[in-house]
């Protein structure tokens, strides 16, 4: 298998490891006495790692693993006394750390630019879990898959461990000396000093950058955003309002929502916050049903006018949730938007309606969209200010048209707001110009601040060559990535969880980042590097942050505190600060906006490339993350690869089938990748996810999929679509997919109804369960009876729960080959089905996990009692009793049991730090499955018992529930009739999977309600 060397997750690789490694790999349990943290706390980062190896060979599984080799070995080995184990206590215990007790630190997620507020669960000094910060105004407790998985990126073995010069270790002082010398040299020679910074950073970062620029006159900053979506958005708003900012959006206020290829639930701007708003806006009242009688509605009645339209080239997570969805070609985006604006202008009373209408691009929308656009325009203008038009394309004209549409609707101020938007730094130097300067040899020094244009810029290859012409080139990447490989000096940045920082989520809301562990390696925060390279005294990141906070946040904070230190303590505890801010100065100017309409349009063609971010990998920043690579794409269910999605009709026309290799050519560049026949794709569209095909991401991400960025126009990623040519290049690359069957075969596992039908009968398409007879009387469950309810109406399929579960329960990633053999290990999976027309199908998502059946079929068949029921109604799986007959899995109707086919590796001393010490790491040959986070249940009960109080409803949250951005999952005690879960279970929408088998699941699903229909 070619992947072995690259991916330790490749099952068989475990065997290839040398004996010592094997022995270590056998550790069943990552728990360490506080050696590591102790060492970390006393500043011996490496000491920690050395220590962590100890004990690897003392576990029982140490010999069980090797045992397979000879049965006799077992006999003898198993009866030895346990080898000597050491206990290494702290010398002096650091404040607030009690070995075995978790601490929680409020911080900011760095998964994407949304910068959600998170809580880092830190055990014995090492973060082991990312959870949402429920108090954070925007994310409100949700975290997406990327955020969850960032814990793996923190312990990524491929991170740079020290500053490097051309790959060779070099001390920080030496590095700083070289940098300063180089900068000085550049200044003296009058050569340019250039910085390539991310588009969206934080205030402190910006101010430090400003200091740097001040220190080096003539130095200029180029901003680089791989996907280009924020750039387009901000540019459009700058043109329209003169304010270069990301507007703050309130989906919950939008009654009519028109989204043009905008994947706001999946990857656009701030998916978690949007998902929360979206779910809030569409929440249905709870109506209990008992023996056909309906109870009182609990909660606000639904808004029947509320409808979400999605027009997009390829199926997106957002499109999957839409009430109405229409495929359109990428090149039709602008015409369609134009058509919409024209229609709105006719209906609008807006003073500038005429001006806008006249400025509109001439291209008229495709005929088949005329009718939908009429209807959409009607609904939008009916909703007026409570309507919202969004566009996800990083295309300036399209974004400008969106602004126009919202302006005509008067949406600004209600559903979308520029005044409270998060302002972005003014565009200083276009990246294109840096190229020319480099070519001309005018650049004396170029610094890449955590940007990786060599990979993510269409002309990255060219840049790689040009970099040689700069006397001084530096990168602050956290690893030797594509760009860092080609620069002279690597000044590795901390991982987010190791660093301080702040970010402006929206105007007046600052999210604070605080570290949860000492740096694992000899890295240094980028801001510290910047300040070190600026003139004057160098500051630590903490100093820089505090200084800014004291100067700017403290005076204007909403929560007044008598002293700054009190304020600061509170701020760090909360993880964010709200300040009184004057609204962004924003005045609408139609002229400026109109000028954008005039931009050249994409030429329609029969093959148009549509590049989009995938839910898991986004722009490829975290490609070296096995969890994200193995997270099945919510829509294609592929893992470890990106494919070219093509419409079924087109595929048959071209004689293409899943896995056939094609060569896509655009701008004279070609890539070869497998096709995937994906319903809901526009016939002219070829949809490819960006973020793949990294060459220097690390041992996991390298060579996974193909890099699509080079196909983009040379003008930089201002557009994410372009006409292309498609050639069947022959050959096959079978895709690894976690689910191959797309149709439900008419089975009632997922129930759906229209809002109209539901309002007529809350139990629509969900007949009440009839009582089934049983031979047995069953068992009593006094005390607690745990159960769960999953609202399919809220679930968007974003898969945050999958990764959350993986992080909480030490679930291994097994690699492409194993997944293609149908052996992925996820305890919680998201089933995805298509229904209806293949050109724009209805997409059904269903989180599938152990149903903890009351009459569990798996339990009856286990010969050794390795899976039995607990007194609280949980279906327990006892790994250390399991002999691995797999009978239970065969007899499990939803097939949610997972078998350890091999010894999966958990032996990397760094990667192992991510393991949760409260959950056993399973050995080869045993069955495992969802435990409903029993460790959390026990912990919650223990806490309540210690405080001598009854357990409160909602106090215990399962991992999946905690991170769910749309709060679709509810866990609790079914024995408590007033618990939320008990009520939901009695809801008229509630049904249980395969009830007719009389297995009695304790998990209820709630019918999915959509507002289709006229």
């Amino acid at each position: 298998m070619p992947h072995d060397e690259k991916k330790p997750w490749q099952s068989l690789a475990a065997l290839r490891g040398d004996p010592a490694e094997l022995a270590r790999a056998e550790r069943e349990f990552a728990e360490e006495l506080p050696v590591g943290p102790g060492a970390i706390a006393s500043g011996h980062a490496h000491g920690a790692l050395v220590q962590l190896r100890s004990g690897g060979d003392v576990s029982r599984r140490g010999f069980f693993g090797l045992m397979g080799l000879s049965a006799a070995a077992v006999g003898i080995a198993a009866c030895q006394r346990a080898p000597v184990a050491k206990v290494v206590p702290y010398l002096s215990e650091p404040d607030g750390i009690v070995p075995g007790v978790s601490n929680w630190y409020a911080s900011a997620c760095a998964g994407c630019d949304a910068q959600c507020g998170v809580l880092l669960k830190s055990r014995d000094g090492r973060p082991i879990k990312v959870e949402g910060n429920p108090e954070h105004p925007l994310s409100q407790g949700g975290v997406c898959a990327v955020g969850q998985a960032s814990i793996v990126s923190l312990y990524d073995a491929s991170r740079a461990r020290a500053p490097l010069e051309r790959g060779q270790p070099i001390g920080w002082d030496a590095l700083d000396a070289k940098v300063l010398a180089g900068l000085e040299d550049a200044r003296s020679k009058g050569k340019a000093i250039r910085v390539v910074a991310p588009l969206r950073t934080g205030p402190t970062f910006e101010s430090t950058l400003a200091q740097f620029l001040a220190a080096w006159p003539g130095a200029r900053v180029a901003r680089f955003e791989p996907s280009g979506e924020l750039t387009a958005l901000a540019d459009a708003h700058q043109a329209a309002f003169g304010a270069r900012a990301v507007p703050s959006i309130h989906l919950d206020r939008a009654r009519t929502l028109a989204s043009f290829a905008c994947d706001f639930l999946g990857s656009w701007v701030a998916p978690v916050a949007f998902a929360r708003q979206y779910a809030k806006g569409r929440a249905l009242p709870l109506i209990e049903r008992e023996g056909g009688k309906l109870g009182q509605a609990e909660g606000a009645p639904p808004d029947f006018a509320r409808r979400h339209w999605q027009l997009e080239p390829a199926l997106s997570l957002t499109g999957a949730s839409a009430d109405r969805r229409h495929p359109l070609a990428p090149s039709e985006l602008v015409p369609a938007l134009g058509g919409l604006v024209r229609r709105l202008a006719l209906r609008s009373m807006h003073p500038d309606r005429a001006a806008i209408a006249n400025a509109l691009p001439r291209a008229s929308e495709p005929r088949e969209l005329a009718a939908p656009l009429d209807a959409l325009a009607a609904e939008l203008s009916a909703s007026g200010a409570q309507a919202l038009v969004l566009c996800g394309a990083s295309d300036l004209t399209a974004q400008a048209l969106c602004v126009a549409a919202n302006q005509l609707l008067g949406a600004y101020g209600t559903t979308i707001d520029i005044a409270s938007g998060a302002s972005l730094p003014a565009a200083d130097l276009p990246l294109a110009q840096l190229f020319t300067e480099l070519e001309a040899g005018q650049v004396g020094a170029v610094i890449f601040l955590g940007t990786n244009p060599v990979y993510a810029h269409p002309d990255g290859e060219k840049l790689a060559e040009l970099l040689a012409r700069a006397p001084l080139s530096i990168s602050t990447a956290d690893r030797l990535d594509e760009t860092a490989r080609d620069v002279a000096l690597l000044a590795p940045d901390h991982a987010p969880a190791e660093s301080w920082g702040d970010s402006e989520a929206r105007r007046g809301l600052t999210t604070l980042r605080q570290p949860a562990l000492m740096p694992l390696f000899e890295t240094r925060a980028a801001v510290e590097s910047l300040s070190a390279w600026s003139a004057g005294k160098k500051h630590t990141q903490h100093e820089l942050l505090c200084a800014r906070a004291e100067a700017e946040l403290y005076p204007r904070a909403l929560h007044k505190e008598p002293r700054f230190d009190l304020f600061w303590t509170r701020a760090l505890h909360d993880g964010f600060v709200e300040t009184e801010e004057t609204p962004l100065p924003a005045s609408f100017s139609v002229a400026q906006l109109g000028s954008l309409f005039a931009l050249p349009l994409a030429t329609p063609s029969d093959t148009e490339l549509w590049l989009h971010s995938s839910v898991a990998l986004r722009d490829g920043r975290w490609s070296n993350n096995a969890w994200l690579q193995e997270l099945p794409d919510p829509l294609t269910k592929t893992v470890w690869d990106n494919a070219a999605c093509i419409a079924p009709a087109r595929a048959t026309a071209l004689g293409l089938d899943d896995g056939d290799l094609i060569t896509v050519t655009a701008n004279g560049r070609s890539i070869t990748l497998p096709v995937l026949v994906q319903p809901g794709t526009h016939p002219a569209t070829l949809a490819i996810a960006i973020g793949y095909g990294r060459t220097a991401a690390g041992n996991i991400g390298n060579g996974v999929g193909v890099n699509a960025f080079p196909l983009l126009s040379g003008r930089g990623p201002a557009r994410n679509f372009i006409e292309a040519r498609l050639v069947k290049s022959g050959g096959q690359k079978p895709l690894a997919r976690s689910q191959t069957q797309a149709s439900l075969e008419g089975r009632p596992h997922i129930r759906t109804a229209t809002l109209a039908a539901w309002s007529a009968d809350p139990g629509a398409s969900n007949p009440e369960e009839e009582k089934l007879d049983s031979l047995w009387s069953g068992h009593e469950y006094p005390g607690h009876r745990w159960g769960m309810a999953i609202d399919l109406g809220s679930c968007t399929g974003c898969s945050a729960c999958v990764i959350s579960c993986q992080a909480e329960n030490n679930i291994p990633a097994v690699g492409r080959d194993e997944v293609s053999r149908g052996r992925e290990m996820h305890w919680l999976r998201l089933d995805r089905y298509f229904a209806g027309e293949p050109d724009s199908p209805e997409v059904l998502h269903q989180p599938m996990l152990c149903q903890h059946c009351t009459n569990a079929p798996c339990e009856t068949v286990c010969p050794v009692l390795a899976t039995v029921h607990s007194s609280e109604g949980l279906n327990q799986q006892v790994y250390n009793r399991c002999v691995g007959t797999r009978y239970c899995a065969n007899n499990c109707p939803p097939k949610v049991r997972r078998f350890n086919w091999f010894e999966y590796r958990h032996d990397d001393p760094v990667e192992r730090l991510a393991l949760n010490p409260d959950v056993v790491v399973r050995s080869r040959g045993v069955m495992e499955k969802c435990s409903m986070c029993v460790q959390r249940i026990q912990e919650g009960k223990a806490l309540a018992r210690r405080d001598g109080r009854p357990l409160a409803d909602g106090e215990i949250q399962t991992a999946c529930q905690q991170s769910c951005p749309s709060q679709a999952i509810t866990f609790g005690d079914l024995n408590d009739p007033n618990s939320r879960v008990a009520k939901l279970t009695r809801d008229a929408r509630a049904y249980r999977l395969l009830h007719e088998l009389n297995i009695g699941p304790v998990i209820s699903y709630l019918t999915r309600i959509k507002n289709t229909g006229a």
Binding site: R27, E28, F29, E31, L33, P34, V35, G38, A39, S42, S59, R60, R61, S70, A71, A72, A73, V74, G75, I76, A78, C79, R81, A82, V84, A85, K86, V87, V88, P89, Y90, L91, S92, E93, V98, P99, G100, V101, V868, S870, S871, E872, L874, Q876, V878, Y879, N880, R881, D918, V919, V920, S931, V934, Q935, Q938, A942, R945, R946
Partner: protein, 174 residues
């Protein structure tokens, strides 16, 4: 055939372990520093949790950090050779590697906190530590041994409503 015989041998010996013939009972390793519980906990009647303060708040009772010892031994018996080992370690900022006496298998989740909260005396499991110059594992610490206690306490009507130690698998195996 031979494989089967070997397997039989293996099973036989494993079965033996199963039956608790071979446990760590009586394990009494030498420690880097000859610390005497008999002296501290016995003669001086120091509370167990004075040093093992983790027991009340964490799953681990924990071995006390060196600075806890130094709390007294900065001025008490500073001359004794054993104490000198300690002071040296602290001086060199070198953690002390104690040899672990009580060690449950990796797949067992045990919480000192829960047991302390339930007012289980340390001696119930660890034996009369206050009489031991060198700590020894006095109990088998097998699953059956744990269950015995859990069951008898649950069965005792005197504990009804106050204590109900779980006998669910997931109480210890998760």
């Amino acid at each position: 055939m031979i494989k089967t015989c070997l397997l039989a041998l293996a099973c036989a010996s494993l079965a033996a372990c199963d039956n608790g013939f071979l446990t760590q009972q009586g394990y009494e390793p030498a420690q880097p520093i000859a610390f005497s519980h008999a002296l501290h906990a016995g003669e001086m009647k120091m509370n167990c949790q004075y040093c093992h303060f983790g027991a009340a708040q964490s799953r681990h009772a924990g071995v006390p950090p060196a600075n806890v010892c130094m709390g007294c031994h900065k001025n008490v018996k500073t001359g004794s050779p054993e104490i000198i080992k300690l002071t040296q370690a602290v001086a060199e900022n070198r953690p002390i590697e104690w040899t672990r006496v009580h060690r449950l298998p990796d797949f067992v989740w045990f919480s000192h906190q829960n047991h302390v909260a339930a007012k289980v005396a340390c001696q119930t499991c660890h034996g009369p530590v206050e009489t031991m110059a060198r700590v020894q594992q006095v109990n088998t610490m097998t699953m059956g041994w744990c269950l015995e206690c859990h069951r008898s306490i649950a069965a005792d009507p005197a504990n009804a409503g106050k204590l109900n130690p779980p006998t669910d698998c997931s109480a210890c195996h998760r």
